[in-house]
Assembly symmetry: C2
Homo-oligomer: 345 residues x 2
């Protein structure tokens, strides 16, 4: 099984996640109806932290919940035990083996807080530490770079959101169509390969996104760094104008996650300014007008609503990172310096 | 007034912040004794967001509070209004003019939540939106890159922490010594200039920190990007081993914020591994054993406790970024593409 196989397996993995038992989430939702929480805290590192960023938007916008991202070192390094009894504490970890994430959940559960583990290993220490467990059901992920465990983590968060506030019939149908949309996104492979060949000489780039797609920008940048050893710097399009735009000189490509939606007009403005500066770019979008603003583009399948689209929009990004590694003479199956499970204490 | 003047003015600005009236924070603390909050939410962007990261550690470790960093776009882009009545909502903005940060505070105050503005302009919209206001008292900041408003924002968060839990006599004395320690940190100027000349040809670098000093790593990287147009990529030392270590090849310098404290042993391990890989580095520390691990080093004044040290440790970083800009033939007083006030909607 190769990285490319795992990227391609995502529609099937998403289907498995959709078909997984709702019982753990229903029990959690029942407890939260009896003991409402004021806030959600998500603990995660690396790729899973990008799933947490998506969770912040999803649960904030759809469920009206304040979501904070935990700094796991507060517990693991400093031994502090922030009061969490009125919080839902969620840990996300592919392996479920990271001691600092386990520590955050164990500490919260000791305080009586509801806890949820989202992990690809339901026999892991993280699953044992949590009151509720969602199994990613992604199947074994053997490639060192996480792909299908990322998209299934996003979908697990969607299922949490739906358990806390049941979907409308339209929302239900939108969620059910996700595997099909992910399959359609895989059709960008040839365009991703061509763009990667075209940008292979750049050893740095900027990746922009905003709102729901900020998570995609961060995860895309991480995949590019891990696989292709290119210095990819992710920014919220909002923060970008606060300073980092200074580093975009001619020759530093800007990769923009710029689909239709609330963030589109701000991104269009940035793309126009970058074009005037002569910057190289690659636009990932489902909106013809935004695709047309880029020198290069990667088309997303149309019709995926903004709140679910990050599950689909990372797919062409994964393919681009894979092909960028190859175009740069690297082996994406054996990235340098990466261990699959990192045991941050 | 130049950027260098503003960097040098920090001991005086910190003294002004220490001498500012405690009345607003005492009123806030009194309200929180009557109506305890479950969580603190901090909304900020750019440099102020790095102050928020420090606040997450400070209020988590010293006050046992769960602190979440807000995603301001949830309100400004999506019009969502996460429930915040049981949260203390803090906005940090030098200018107090960023509409999305103002929006988060206005929304929280409408819900009855206690709100605090930390701003250098007590007549700003942010100050008007908040129930309580701490004036940074940094004096006018004319340089485009924020320096003294960053360190005074950290100190304002310290004063919030002290108002919520009064200091021991030892803690009080440690806080009072901060301006003197910042003055001692300014003595690193010559070493910072030499290191900057030495590293001037690199157009990318990695900046590492962890725990309390993760904020310093992020702010240092931003200053390097803004002023010297070098691609500086900040990481928590914990996340670094999850993948980004792959991009450190020979020739990409690693700047490590590695003072004494809980994060020191993890950073020492990374520095030893990087040294074996032949990476270039620059170590910022108050600990001789850690300074000795680097090819180049910047010494911090000794005796500043871990919970306060980020107020001091950024100072040599600011000087390094200033001199790196000059060494690269750029004008740090007029960085390209930066506007002092960015009005993110």
């Amino acid at each position: 099984v190769s990285l490319l196989d795992e990227i391609r397996e995502q529609p099937a993995a998403l289907t498995r996640q959709l078909e997984a038992s709702d019982a753990p989430l229903e029990r959690l939702a029942a407890r939260l109806r009896d003991e409402p929480v004021e806030v959600v805290v998500i603990a995660a590192r690396g790729t899973s932290d990008h799933a947490a960023v998506y969770g912040q938007y999803l649960l904030g916008v759809r469920n009206g919940l304040v979501v904070g991202l935990a700094a796991p070192s507060i517990t693991s390094l400093y031994g502090a035990s922030p009061r969490a009894a009125r919080a839902l504490v969620v840990g996300i970890s592919q392996s479920g083996a990271s001691p600092d994430i386990v520590g955050v959940l164990a500490d919260a559960r000791r305080q009586g807080a509801p806890t949820l583990a989202i992990t690809n290993d339901p026999t892991s220490p993280l699953a044992a530490a949590a009151e509720s467990v969602v199994d990613l059901a992604a199947g074994p992920e053997r490639a060192v770079a996480a792909t299908k465990t990322y998209t299934t983590s996003l979908l697990a968060l969607v299922r949490l959101s739906l358990a806390l506030r049941p979907p409308s019939p339209e929302e239900h149908a939108q969620v059910q169509r996700l595997p099909e949309a992910a399959a359609a996104a895989l059709e960008s492979a040839a365009a991703a390969e061509a763009a990667a060949r075209d940008l292979a000489t750049a050893d740095r780039c900027v990746v922009l996104g905003r709102g729901f797609e900020y998570a995609t920008a961060r995860e895309w940048a991480l995949k590019i760094k891990e696989l292709a050893r290119v210095f990819a710097d992710p920014y919220s399009a909002a923060d970008f104008l606060h300073g980092p735009i200074a580093i975009v000189e001619a020759g530093v490509p800007v990769l923009a996650v710029a689909p239709a939606g609330r963030a589109a007009s701000g991104l269009a403005e940035i793309l126009e300014r970058l074009r005037a500066d002569g910057a190289e770019d690659l636009v990932l979008s489902d909106e013809p007008a935004l695709l047309a603003l880029g020198r290069r583009s990667l088309a997303l399948p149309p019709g995926v609503p903004e709140w679910l689209r990050p599950i689909v929009s990372i797919v062409p990004g994964q393919l681009f990172a894979y092909h960028l590694a190859i175009a740069r003479g690297l082996d994406p199956e054996a990235p340098r310096g990466l261990a699959k499970v990192t045991r941050t204490m």
